[in-house]
């Protein structure tokens, strides 16, 4: 098999780079994806928080993925599913890049390509890397795996949950498990601050009064068959546990959200050098790796907080690869550059907000701290917000707080047991659980298409529940 441009991975990075290269005139593209669907990690991120930059609207992960899948389909860009690239042998001047691919239906074969874009995303750090001693019962899962079980397969991994690590996946899963009726005991974070976005702390933990234990860690695992409990202890400045503070927390599930590692085994197979700090390939300004004609973008390059940024970066990689293919000239390898991770606002525990009338806007990842003053005439003066979203959010938050909710509805006869859904608008905060119990009582028959209204006027809120994916 031959392609001008081979793209490894069909997540947002792979798809956006394909679209950009296509727009530059490269038609002979092949996306190689090992899952049974395009979309990457976005398919399991059923929550809101995508697309504010790229599409100027707040989308869920599956909806964001669908937008790109549609662009791929419209352009008839070819892709392989259930196909995993096992090895890349870089071009040597005479032969093109060679990709070894294992597929479900045709076994192992080779693909030749003039240029390659690496878009393999990242994986979660396992328990071993955290070195938590104890037994090895069932019930200890990387948060992303639990997310897959719940959001894709429709299974609940457990009922009494502790989460270790306050990365975004952990925070999102705390809320997800809570919304599915689990008792989420706490989120434990060894550092004195959280690694997640502030808005996620507010809307995933604070909204549901889930405690965040900063400067704490897990020092013991109990249970031989299934997890029975964990021992949580505070740590000192050197992150050493203070045994006196140890507390036993009964639970049947421990979710680990301790960071993501770019998935670069394939890059290593091609002899691409990896940056110690980002865990991704060293690239030049054009996102080209040290091996000419091989580019990298998205989470494989460095872990991104935002899919929108992934798409932008990936488009640049797609264009650069297209340029090389068109001109036939291989770029001069400019000075090696370390990709920059976007600066992150660190979480200030709620108690530290200086005044009772301050709140954190959850409108976008900027997470502005907004101050609301009530004037004598009862009007509100709102300051601290960087954009109008903050003003509107703050006004609503003090008068009639509302939330957009995402969850799952049971599907009969579909490819999976569930389909992801969302409210079409904010619902009153105190109606969240009423709304969820109605969702829980609903079942629909396949096929379901994204956008289908599955429940009208949920819990009397005049808001509808619509599907956010196809099933």
């Amino acid at each position: 098999m031959k392609a001008e441009l081979a793209i490894v991975g069909g997540g947002p990075a792979g798809m956006a780079s394909a679209v950009a290269a296509y727009e530059k005139g490269i038609k002979n593209i092949l996306i190689i994806e090992r899952d049974k669907k395009l979309g990457g990690i976005l398919n399991q991120c059923i929550h809101h928080g995508f697309g504010l930059h790229a599409f100027k609207e707040e989308l869920t992960g599956p909806e964001y993925a669908l937008r790109y899948i549609e662009m791929i389909t419209e352009r008839e860009i070819p892709y392989l599913l259930k196909a995993m690239v096992l090895k890349i042998t870089p071009a040597d001047g005479k032969t093109p890049h060679l990709l070894e691919v294992m597929t479900d239906d045709q076994g192992l074969f080779a693909i030749e390509a003039k240029a390659v874009i690496l878009a393999m995303g990242c994986r979660e750090r396992p328990r071993g890397a955290l070195n938590i001693p104890g037994y090895r019962p069932s019930g200890i899962y990387p948060a992303g795996m639990a997310q897959y079980f719940v959001n894709i397969k429709g299974y609940l991994p457990g009922q009494k949950v502790v989460i270790l690590g306050s990365g975004d996946i952990g925070l999102i899963m705390a809320r997800r498990m809570k919304l599915q009726g689990a008792d989420v005991k706490m989120v434990v974070e060894i550092l004195p601050y959280s690694g997640g976005l502030v808005r996620n702390i507010v809307q995933c933990l604070d909204d549901f009064e889930i405690p965040l234990k900063l400067s704490h860690t897990i020092i013991g695992i109990d249970g031989i068959n299934r997890l029975k409990g964990v021992t949580v202890a505070q740590v000192d400045e050197n992150l050493k546990p203070l045994l006196k503070t140890a507390e036993y927390i009964p639970c049947d599930t421990l979710l680990l959200s301790c960071g993501l590692i770019p998935e670069n085994e394939l890059s290593l197979s091609a002899g691409i050098s990896i940056d110690e700090k980002t865990g991704g390939p060293v690239v030049n300004q054009r996102l080209e790796t040290a091996v000419r004609g091989i580019f990298a973008c998205g989470n494989v390059l460095h872990v991104h907080d935002l899919a929108d940024n992934v798409s932008i970066e990936a488009a640049a990689a797609g264009e650069a690869a297209a340029d090389d293919i068109i001109t036939g000239v291989i770029s001069d390898w400019g000075e090696a550059k370390r990709p920059k991770a976007a600066p992150k606002t660190r979480y200030t525990p709620r108690a530290n907000l200086s005044l009772a009338n301050q709140l954190v806007c959850i409108g976008c990842p900027a997470s502005c701290v907004v101050t609301v003053e009530k004037e004598k005439d009862d009007s509100l003066t709102i300051t601290g917000n960087a954009c109008p979203v903050g003003e509107e959010y703050a006004r609503k938050e003090v008068t009639a707080p509302a939330r957009n909710i995402t969850s799952l509805i049971r599907v009969i006869g579909g490819e999976n047991n569930v389909v992801s859904v969302k409210t079409t608008d904010g619902i009153p905060k105190d109606k969240i659980f009423a709304c969820l119990s109605e969702i829980g009582l609903t079942a629909v028959s396949a096929p379901v298409k994204a956008g289908d209204v599955l429940i009208e006027n949920v819990a009397g809120t005049e808001v509808n529940i619509i599907a956010t994916a196809n099933c």
């Binding site: 294992m102 001693p133 795996m145 429709g154 031989i224 068959n225 290593l268």
Partner: protein
């Protein structure tokens, strides 16, 4: 009525089962877990010891050497991973050299060939990663490594192919002797009868022994903890590197595994709980500290998992393999601590000879000594870290199913030990749902019934509501 019932499906019971299968005997193996090979046989160093440790004249010394000699041929016959990488015992000071010489002398007396003491320069040449303060090393070219999981599984599958019956989830709780045979009751209420019983219950062999005999026997668990590293650092060392042994055993070693990972451990701590296979903060720290004496740098960032195993310590300094004097036809194979894995093939032969005296039998004319492992597949990749395909996983499910005579479930760990999905750097973070789906599909059960390692370790709580 069985001729022989083997209690315990660890590497020892399995080796005996396979050896006995070459005779015309009706044999069964009773295992309390949902699969074979889940005791000490799955949590050890996987080393084929050359044979210089055990005292001259002991059964241990004899069976170790014999086992290590049989292993390469057996690996070919049964198709499990074996690598003759050679071993070294490191010595860090001039003062300790006599101890090294003592080991050499003992090894030679035990019949180990090829042993020699290497100078610092010679050690460095063979093993550049070694610490600067290593002064000498005892080099044992016959030292080797095996896959402990597949050694056990291969012996079981071959025994099965030759007619041995395997029963899972049969915890033996009562044994009664009448005039002609033994009556065995399992915890699920089923019963078995046998002319001869072989007690291979590992750390629990003392409890089985006490069901029939009044001669004292106690086994105490001695815990060993390990750390396993990613394949990216699997070539840190080439040989298996020991330190000088202490009264507690062979000390902390560093070794590559047959699959290309790096393994360090074990500790040796006497504990009370026979189910105490938890790792501890102290234990893992000790492993890291001790291992750091042997080589220049321990790649701490590449740790992927930790585990612990329990040695069955009889306090008698030797394996206990004999017909129990107050219980004719009842054979103890107890106190099989290290090097039990190495000795397993030899213990099989030895027990076969013991039984030949008690229960003479003709050779089995249909005995097939060869078994083939599962070959790499050519379809969808299910485990991305170890590149395990759907074909391999389906084959493992089918073989596990065929091994046992009684119905039962197949756990994720059973598949993991057979074809390695989940053994890699992400430690099953990716493949768990996918393997669960395949097992459920093959067995016609719900995914919510899938367990990590047998009953009680279900991974899911049900469909969401």
């Amino acid at each position: 009525m069985y001729d022989v019932i083997i209690i315990g499906g660890g590497v020892i019971g399995l080796s005996i089962a396979r050896e006995l299968a070459s005779k015309q005997l009706k044999i069964a193996v009773l295992e309390k877990n949902s699969d074979i090979g889940e005791g000490a046989s799955k949590a050890n160093s996987g080393i084929v010891h050359a044979g210089f440790d055990a005292s001259f004249g002991t059964l241990k010394a004899r069976l170790n050497l014999r086992g290590s000699t049989l292993m390469p041929k057996l690996a070919k016959e049964l198709d499990f991973e074996y690598l003759n990488n050679g071993a070294m015992v490191l010595c860090f000071s001039e003062n300790e050299k006599p101890k090294l010489e003592e080991l050499l002398a003992r090894g030679l007396k035990n019949g180990v060939t090829g042993l020699e003491i290497l100078s610092q320069a010679e050690v460095n040449k063979k093993e550049p990663s070694i610490n600067e303060n290593v002064k000498y090393a005892l080099y044992a070219p016959s030292g080797a490594i095996v896959c402990p999981f597949n050694l056990a599984i291969a012996m079981a599958e071959n025994a099965r192919a030759n007619g041995v019956e395997f029963f899972r989830e049969k915890k033996v709780i009562i044994i009664k002797k009448n005039n002609t045979c033994y009556f065995i009751l399992a915890d699920d209420g089923t019963s078995f009868e046998a002319k001869v019983i072989v007690n291979c219950a590992g750390i629990f062999a003392d409890e089985i022994h006490r069901l029939v005999s009044s001669i004292p026997l106690t086994l105490a668990p001695r815990k060993g903890e390990y750390l396993l590293f990613d394949k990216t650092v699997g070539n840190t060392v080439k040989h298996t590197l020991f330190q000088l042994p202490t009264e507690y055993g062979k000390g902390v070693l560093i070794t590559p595994t047959v699959h290309g990972n790096l393994l360090i451990g074990p500790t040796a701590l006497d504990i009370e709980d026979k189910a105490g296979v938890d790792t501890t903060g102290d234990g893992l720290e000790t492993v890291l500290k001790k291992a750091a004496e042997s080589i220049k740098e321990i790649p701490r960032r590449e740790i992927i998992t930790s585990f612990a195993g329990l040695r069955a310590n009889s306090g008698q300094g030797d394996f206990i393999i004999a017909e129990v004097s107050d219980s004719p036809g009842f054979i103890d194979v107890a106190g099989i601590d290290s090097p039990g894995l190495t000795s397993a093939p030899a213990i099989g032969e030895y027990v076969k000879a013991l039984i030949a005296d008690i229960l003479p039998a003709l050779d089995n004319p249909h005995f097939v000594s060869k078994r083939e492992g599962i070959k790499p597949g050519n379809n969808e990749v299910i485990c991305r870290c170890e590149t395990i395909t759907k074909a391999e996983i389906l084959a493992a499910i089918q073989r596990t199913n065929e091994l046992f005579k009684n119905p039962g479930q197949i756990s994720l760990d059973s598949i993991k030990r057979r074809v390695r999905p989940g053994m890699g750097r992400c430690q099953a973070g990716f493949c768990t749902p996918r393997v669960a789906e395949l097992i459920a599909g093959e067995l016609g059960i719900n995914e919510t019934d899938i367990t990590k390692s047998g009953r009680g370790s279900e991974i899911l709580m049900g469909l969401i509501s």
